[in-house]
């Protein structure tokens, strides 16, 4: 094989192919999305792959496939594992026949996430093995190992990369892609697959009996390793282990934790050989707690005594600083530097011509005093336009809206949710809101794609993950069948239509739904849709800044006049907003 410069997620996907994967499912979520994206776009693909509607659905599908004996993968981001937690917890009881690997990608520093939870906790909670790669290369070898470990112990294995694994690159020599595929066969076994109390009590005992052998195997297989060098040691896991390895002086011992559960006897022996141990890991002090459990006379430093932060991500400099604090001199020095202060921020922004922006504009115009629960997607950026008051988790715009509605709050409630998020966990909220008589408006921002994570198709798109046509779901029919009294479909680019629908919704009681449709502007461009750009007539522009406040990156303002730059996609909404008619399609008077 040749050496390639590969993205972590690409290496992980490739490793699945090396491991003869038969079945893959997932729901997109940064930083996990590219794994399924790469698997679904392979030129030659002799396994099944799907984008599921949410993580619970993805895991249940993959679990069932593993019950039939095939090798299965379910992918998600860390918060997706919350959605899949229900099947996760009991899948450890039922176990699996074919290997089942659950990839849950963590996001220290919350680069694109709503929290910094640690998936290793879930693995310990569910009592399943967890593998935690320290580098892009190791992500590949560990992924292959994960499938065999799963089959060896009949347990699902949690594979936990972080952002700096998934979205890092390295020179890698990928292994041979396998061609040894299996066909599923379901073997009836109610004692294993029907978790009635009588069965589950037995299954729980069996699960507990597997714990110590798994921990020992992780040492025997070299997943957890030690090198003893002196009386001081560092124990690290995940990407933090790579930072430590770069900085480790010759005379300091090093234990690398790549898998959980950690064998307490093995760990205790290492810790007991040292006077002082520094534990370096991102997110929760999972290793540190295990170390403190076995440490008797050894001094232990880590997060719990303030040597390292509980939040954010680590980097070589922060690890070096903790090492120095613990009296370990790193082999590299890092200068103290401060950023230049007061530089204007450059936050991410909705694209020029994004249909969400005009819908937000219309909401703000009609519901001046409204409350605006929103959801997870590109449209969370609507916070910059003052139309996002809450975001907590997938699907929670509608439920937060109905909760506020039933609290006695009398102001109008208008929530925004994308099509993919609505299909993920929004429908139940709508059903509940109608059933329980909430008073609110739901705006579905329908761009026919899961845009933020990289344009993955969903049941509203019209194609499956592998490009096979599938009938797009009718959002109107779903909303009507949930019982919504008012369901209106508008074009996001037609401001008059949007405003009229908002006014009509405002005038009615009950749960009203407006489906604002316009394909994602990035996707539209890729599909070859071209619209003529717009331009500002400087003589007609009064410099009122109505268009500037609209917040489109195509609109600039110089010397008291607005102007439109090359980013313009021709959506025409600014022209509809301009009070003096100064914005026109290029070439028109």
């Amino acid at each position: 094989m040749v050496i390639r410069y590969m993205l972590g997620n690409e290496v992980i996907a490739h490793a699945c192919c090396e491991a003869n994967i038969d079945f893959a499912s997932g729901y997109p979520g940064t930083p996990s999305s590219e794994v399924i994206d790469i698997l679904r776009t392979q030129d030659v693909r002799d396994f099944y792959v799907e984008w599921s509607v949410n993580e619970k659905v993805a895991l249940e599908n993959a679990l069932a496939a593993a019950w039939t004996g095939v090798r299965s993968l379910a992918t998600m981001k860390h918060v997706g594992l919350n959605v899949a937690a229900d099947p996760l917890m009991t899948s450890a009881y039922t176990g699996v026949t074919g290997g089942l690997v659950i990839l849950s990608a963590d996001d220290p520093y919350a680069h694109s996430s709503q929290n910094e939870q640690d998936s290793r906790r879930y693995a310990l909670f569910a009592k399943i093995p967890c593998l935690d790669p320290a580098s892009v290369r190791e992500a590949g070898t560990m992924m292959v190992e994960a499938f065999s470990l799963s089959e060896e112990f009949g347990l699902p294995v949690l594979f936990r990369p972080t952002t700096r694994i998934c979205h890092s690159k390295s020179d890698v020599e990928p292994g041979e892609v396998g061609s040894d595929h299996r066909t599923g066969h379901f073997e009836r076994n109610p004692q294993q697959y029907v978790v009635i109390p009588a069965h589950t009590r037995v299954l729980h005992k069996k699960l507990n009996e597997k714990q110590a052998p798994v921990a020992r195997a992780l040492v025997e297989k070299g997943v957890n390793t030690v090198v003893v060098k002196g009386t001081t040691g560092i124990i690290a896991g995940g990407i933090a282990a790579s930072y430590v390895q770069e900085l480790l002086p010759e005379n300091v011992s090093f234990a690398k934790i790549g898998g959980y559960p950690i064998d307490p006897d093995w760990l205790g022996a290492f810790v007991g050989q040292h006077d002082k141990i520094l534990v370096v890991e991102e997110l929760s002090p999972v290793i540190e707690e295990a170390v403190r459990m076995v440490a008797t006379y050894t001094i232990v430093h880590g997060k719990m005594d303030g040597y390292l932060p509980h939040e954010g991500e680590l980097d070589p400099a922060s690890v070096a600083s903790a090492m120095k604090k613990a009296g370990i001199i790193p082999v590299r020095d890092f200068p103290q530097v401060t950023p230049v202060p007061d530089i204007p921020r450059r936050p991410p922004i909705l694209c020029a011509g994004c249909g969400h922006r005009s819908v937000f504009y219309a909401i703000k115009r009609v519901f001046k005093d409204g409350i605006f629960p929103s959801d997870i997607g590109c449209y969370t950026l609507g916070i910059q336009l003052g139309v996002v008051d809450t975001t907590i988790c997938m699907g929670a715009s509608i439920t937060v809206g109905s909760g506020i509605s039933r609290s006695g709050e009398e102001r109008d409630i208008v929530c925004t949710i994308g099509d993919s998020t609505f299909l993920h966990t929004g429908i139940q909220g709508l059903l509940n809101a109608v059933y329980n008589g909430a008073n609110m408006t739901v705006v579905i921002l329908d761009n026919r794609i899961t845009a933020m994570t990289g344009h993955q198709p969903n049941p509203n798109t019209g194609v499956t993950a592998t490009g096979v046509e599938s009938p797009p779901v009718s959002l109107e029919a779903i909303c009507r069948s949930c019982g919504a009294a008012y369901v209106e479909r508008v074009s996001s680019y037609d401001l008059t239509q949007c405003l009229e629908a908002m006014k009509a919704a405002k005038a009615r009681k009950g749960v009203k739904v407006i489906i604002a449709y316009q394909p994602c502007v990035i996707n539209a461009r890729r599909a070859g849709i071209r619209r003529k750009s717009f331009t500002v007539d400087p003589d007609a522009c009064t410099g009122c800044k109505a268009c500037v406040r609209f917040g489109c990156p195509a609109i600039e303002f110089h010397e008291d006049k607005a102007s439109i730059n090359a980013l313009c996609s021709g959506c025409s909404v600014c022209a509809q907003i301009c009070p003096t008619g100064a914005i026109r399609m290029e070439g028109k008077k």
Binding site: I3, R4, Y5, L7, T30, P31, E34, H111, S112, S135, V136, R164, H167, S168, K169, S170, D171, I239, S242, Y243, Q245, E246, D315, P316, A317, S318, R332, F334, P335, Q336, V337, T338, P339, V340, I343, P344, R345, R346, P347, P348, I349, L350, C351, C378, T380, L381, Q384, M452, T453, G454, V548, R549, G551, C552, P553, I555, E556, F557
Partner: protein, 192 residues
Amino acid sequence: MSGSYDVLIVGVGGQGTILASNILGEACLIEGKSVRGAETHGMAQRGGSVETHIRIGGKYGPLISPGTADLIISFDLLEALRYSHFLKEGGVIITNTETIIPTSAFQHDADVPGQEDILNLLSGRDVITVDAAALALEAGTILTQNVVMLGAASPYIPLAVESLKEAVRRSVPPKTVDTNLKAFDLGRGAPE
């Protein structure tokens, strides 16, 4: 000493920092050097400030800590300022002369430092400016600004120019190879 040559490529989401870093990564493979990189994906890409770390000869983690970058390549002058504290003592910044004014600055009437102000704030650093847009247009398309910048930075990168050009050939769409190679050469000839 880190043992690696650490390059931070910064800019605005959509300017092609990832392609530029892929070219560097590919050039490392051509020379048989180990390499590590870290990228910005996801929501942060939507017109936001983006950073790509590349450690040529790197064997460990992909992240470059503040104060330790050997080279900063910036596709936007304001971003050069934002990330300037990543530069090590004696490091070099190669930056585009232009800046995209953040939309939020127009919306909120925020002051954005001009070209002269930014260059003043960067004084004391070894800064080389490149009119990437003009050179990209000369090469044939404004879309090649990232490769222009890479060409301009190439004399400082410990990789042979032939390796870099071969990496450009391998990394860009086949139809655009000639334009991109021209952009690379124009960039390489640009810094005074």
